[in-house]
C-alpha cells in the first residue's frame, strides 16, 4: 500500500473532504504558514482559495465561535489550533456553545464542526506550549474527542470527524507528524468510537493513547523478549470510548496498563481504570497500572523534560509490575 506520513495523511483528508463537500472549510491561525501547522494544510489555499482556507488573527475565542456559528448555519468548518494550549481561550464556544447546542435546543440544530488542536510536547517549550488537554474536553457531554496514533487513522478519523454531525475535538501530536505508514489513496473514514487491537496477546493489556499507543507497541516488542505476551489497544477515540474492546481484552488477560499522554489526576487513564474496576473487577489478577505525565506543568530544561515525558521503557516497567504482582503467573 502507498506510504504517507501522519501529517500528510491529515493533509490528504482535508483535500479530499473539501473536494467532495463544498461546505467544508478550514479556518484558524497559521493555515497558510508551515511554521504553524507543518505540511498539514499544504496546497489547500492554492486549490480551494482564500474563502475556504482562512488564515486569521490570534482571536481564538472569536474564530472558534465563528466556526461553531458557521456549523449551526449549515457549513462544515474545521478550525485549527496549532498549539492546543491556545484553545483554552475558546473554551466558551467549544463547551458552552458547541457541546450544548444540540441538546439545549431540543435537537433542532446540530453543530458539525471539527475543532482541531495540535499537541506540541517537548522542545523545551515549557508549560504553555505543550499541554495535552483531551481529558478536559472528554469530560463534557456533547463533545466527541479523537486522537489518532497512525497515519491511517490520522486521515480516516479526520474524514469521519468532518462528516459527523456533532462537534468533534480532533487532537494530533507533533511527535507523530513524521511517522510513516500505510494510507489508502482513496477517501475513507475510521468510525468514531472504535478502538483497535494493534497486537494480540494473552498476558497483559496495554491501553495506549495517541503517542503512547505507538510507545505501547514498542513496549510490547520489548516484553516479548522477556516472554511476556502483551495485547496492545490503541484507544483512538477518547469519547465515545470503545468500552467493549477494552473490557473484552482485560477479561482475557486479567491485567492492564494504561498509558496516556496527559496528566494523571482526573485523566483518561483514571476513566479507563474506573471502567474496568466497575465492570470487571473480578477478572483482574493485579491492580491496574497507569503511565501518565506527573501532575506537574511541563518543564523547559531538557533534563527535566527527560524525566517528565514517559516512553516505552516506563510501559515495560509497569507491565512487569502488573505481571509479577500476582503470586502465580498464569
Amino acid at each position: 500500500m502507498r506510504k504517507l506520513t501522519y501529517s500528510l495523511a491529515i493533509n490528504e483528508a482535508l483535500h479530499q473532504s473539501m473536494a467532495e463537500d463544498s461546505t467544508v472549510f478550514l479556518i484558524g491561525q497559521g493555515v497558510k504558514s508551515p511554521w504553524y501547522i507543518g505540511n498539514t494544510a499544504q496546497h489547500l489555499l492554492e486549490r480551494f482559495g482564500k474563502s475556504r482556507v482562512i488564515d486569521t488573527p490570534v482571536s481564538e475565542n472569536g474564530i472558534t465561535g465563528a466556526a461553531v456559528g458557521a456549523a449551526i448555519a449549515g457549513m462544515k468548518p474545521v478550525v485549527v489550533h496549532p498549539r492546543m494550549d491556545f484553545m483554552i481561550y475558546a473554551f466558551d464556544p467549544i463547551i458552552n456553545e458547541a457541546a450544548n447546542w444540540f441538546y439545549m435546543n431540543g435537537g433542532r440544530a446540530s453543530v458539525p464542526v471539527v475543532i482541531w488542536g495540535i499537541i506540541n510536547r517537548g522542545g523545551e517549550q515549557a508549560a504553555q506550549h505543550s499541554q495535552a488537554l483531551h481529558a478536559m474536553f472528554a469530560h463534557v457531554p456533547g463533545l466527541k474527542v479523537v486522537m489518532p496514533a497512525t497515519p491511517y487513522d490520522a486521515k480516516g478519523l479526520m474524514m469521519a470527524a468532518i462528516k459527523d454531525p456533532n462537534p468533534v475535538v480532533y487532537i494530533d501530536e507533533r511527535w507523530l507528524h513524521h511517522l510513516e505508514g500505510d494510507v489508502p489513496e482513496e477517501p475513507y473514514t475510521v468510525e468514531l468510537g472504535k478502538g483497535i487491537v494493534r497486537k494480540t496477546g494473552n498476558d497483559v493489556t496495554i491501553i495506549g493513547i495517541s503517542y503512547m499507543a505507538k510507545e505501547a507497541l514498542n513496549a510490547a516488542q520489548e516484553l516479548e523478549k522477556e516472554g511476556i505476551d502483551a495485547e496492545v489497544i490503541d484507544v483512538r477515540s477518547i469519547k465515545p470510548l470503545d468500552s467493549e474492546l477494552i473490557l473484552g481484552s482485560v477479561r482475557k488477560t486479567g491485567r492492564a496498563v494504561v498509558a496516556d499522554v496527559g496528566w494523571r489526576f482526573c485523566g483518561i487513564s483514571a476513566e479507563i481504570a474506573a471502567l474496568v474496576y466497575e465492570h470487571d473487577f473480578e477478572c483482574l489478577k493485579a491492580p491496574i497500572k497507569r503511565v501518565t505525565l506527573p501532575d506537574c506543568p511541563a518543564p523547559a530544561s531538557k533534563f527535566l523534560e527527560k524525566a517528565y515525558y514517559h516512553s516505552s521503557l516506563d510501559i515495560v516497567k509497569a507491565a512487569r509490575e502488573v505481571i509479577t504482582h500476582s503470586p502465580q503467573r498464569s
Partner: protein
C-alpha cells in the same frame, strides 16, 4: 421622515404589541411558580427587535441572548412554541430542554439564543461567514446587551467581521444596566457605539424606543451588508421596564436590581409602544379602534399560548438523554 405604507406601520405595531402582551402574560405564571425558568422580560425594548427584524428575510439569521423572547417573536417564531418552552413542555421550541434562554427555530432563521454574555456574538459572525462563503446575500444579526461590551470576544469579532467585510449587524441593546450594575460603573466612554470605530465598523447610535428610527438604521445597515460593504454596529438606547430577571419592577418585588424610581418613571413615559401609537394616530395611519383591536388580538394570542403550554405534556424523564448527540 420617509413615508411608509399603512400596512407596514401596522405590522411593526403588531410585532411590538405581540411581544409586550406575551411578556406581560408571563408575569402571573412566574409569580405563581407555574413558570420556573429564569425569564428576562423584554418589555420596554420591543422597538429594537421589531425595527431590526422588519428588514430581515426568513433566510437571514438571528442569534440572541438571555433576553430573547422579543427576538424570537419578531423574527417570526411561533408564540405557542416559545411559551411552551418557557413552561418546560415537550411542545416547546427546544423540546423543554432549553427553557426561556434557549429559543430556536432554524426554519425562520432564528438560530438560537444563549445566556453566556457575548457568547453568541461569535456564532452570529460564523453565520455571516457562512453567508459570505456561500455568497447567498444573507445577513446575520447579533443582538446583545450593554453588559457584553465588557467581554473581549466582542472586540475580536468586530475586528474580524470588518477585516473580512462580513454581512453582520451588531445590535447593542443598551438598557443602561448590566444586570444590577449601571453601565456607567462598568465603562468610562458612555457612547457605546464608538467602540466600533477603531475597527472600521460602520457605527451609530439610535433611539431604541423609536421603532422607525431603529428600522431606518437597521434597513440601511442590512442593505450595506447585502452589497458586501461590511458590518455595522447599531447601539439602541432603551430601558427595560422590569428587573434583570423575572417580573420584578424594582419598586416592589424582590429587587434583581435597584434602580431609581424617578428614572423608571421617566422611561415609562418613553414607552416605545405608547409613542408609536401616538405617531400612528397623529399620522392617521390607524384609529384607536384599530389599535385596540390589534392589542386585543395579541392579548388573546398570548392567553391562548399560555393555555396551550399548560395543556402540553412535560418531556418524559426516560427521554432525558435524547439530543446529546445528533445521529
Amino acid at each position: 421622515m420617509p413615508s411608509h405604507t399603512t400596512e407596514f406601520l401596522i405590522s411593526l405595531y403588531r410585532t411590538m404589541i405581540r411581544i409586550r402582551c406575551c411578556e406581560e402574560s408571563l408575569v402571573e405564571p412566574i409569580l405563581s411558580g407555574d413558570i420556573r425558568t429564569p425569564c428576562h422580560l423584554y418589555s420596554g425594548e420591543e422597538a429594537i427587535a421589531a425595527g431590526i427584524c422588519a428588514s430581515l428575510k426568513k433566510e437571514d439569521q438571528v442569534f440572541g441572548t438571555h433576553r430573547s423572547h422579543g427576538h424570537f417573536l419578531a423574527k417570526g417564531g411561533g408564540m405557542k412554541a416559545m411559551v411552551s418552552e418557557i413552561y418546560g413542555r415537550e411542545t416547546g421550541c427546544s423540546m423543554g430542554r432549553g427553557g426561556s434562554m434557549h429559543l430556536i427555530d432554524p426554519a425562520i432563521g432564528m438560530l438560537g439564543a444563549a445566556p453566556i454574555v457575548a457568547g453568541t456574538i461569535a456564532l452570529a459572525m460564523g453565520a455571516a461567514l457562512a453567508n459570505s462563503i456561500r455568497q447567498d446575500g444573507n445577513v446575520a444579526v447579533s443582538f446583545f446587551g450593554d453588559g457584553a461590551t465588557g467581554e473581549g470576544v466582542l472586540y475580536e469579532c468586530m475586528n474580524f467581521a470588518a477585516l473580512k467585510r462580513l454581512p453582520m449587524i451588531f445590535v447593542c441593546e443598551n438598557n443602561f444596566y448590566s444586570t444590577h450594575m449601571p453601565i456607567r460603573e462598568c465603562r468610562v466612554e458612555e457612547h457605546i457605539y464608538t467602540i466600533g470605530k477603531p475597527f472600521c465598523v460602520e457605527s451609530l447610535q439610535v433611539d431604541g424606543n423609536d421603532v422607525l428610527a431603529v428600522y431606518e438604521a437597521g434597513k440601511k445597515a442590512i442593505e450595506r451588508c447585502r452589497k458586501g460593504d461590511g458590518p455595522a454596529f447599531i447601539e439602541c438606547l432603551t430601558y427595560r421596564f422590569r428587573g434583570h430577571v423575572g417580573p420584578d419592577d424594582n419598586i416592589h418585588g424582590n429587587h434583581t436590581d435597584i434602580r431609581p424610581e424617578e428614572e423608571i418613571e421617566c422611561w415609562l413615559k418613553k414607552d416605545p409602544i405608547a409613542r408609536f401609537e401616538e405617531y400612528l394616530l397623529a399620522n392617521k395611519a390607524a384609529d384607536s379602534i384599530c389599535l385596540n383591536s390589534i392589542r386585543e388580538e395579541a392579548e388573546a394570542e398570548a392567553a391562548e399560548a399560555n393555555r396551550f403550554a399548560l395543556n402540553s405534556a412535560y418531556p418524559e424523564p426516560e427521554r432525558m438523554q435524547d439530543f446529546i448527540f445528533a445521529q
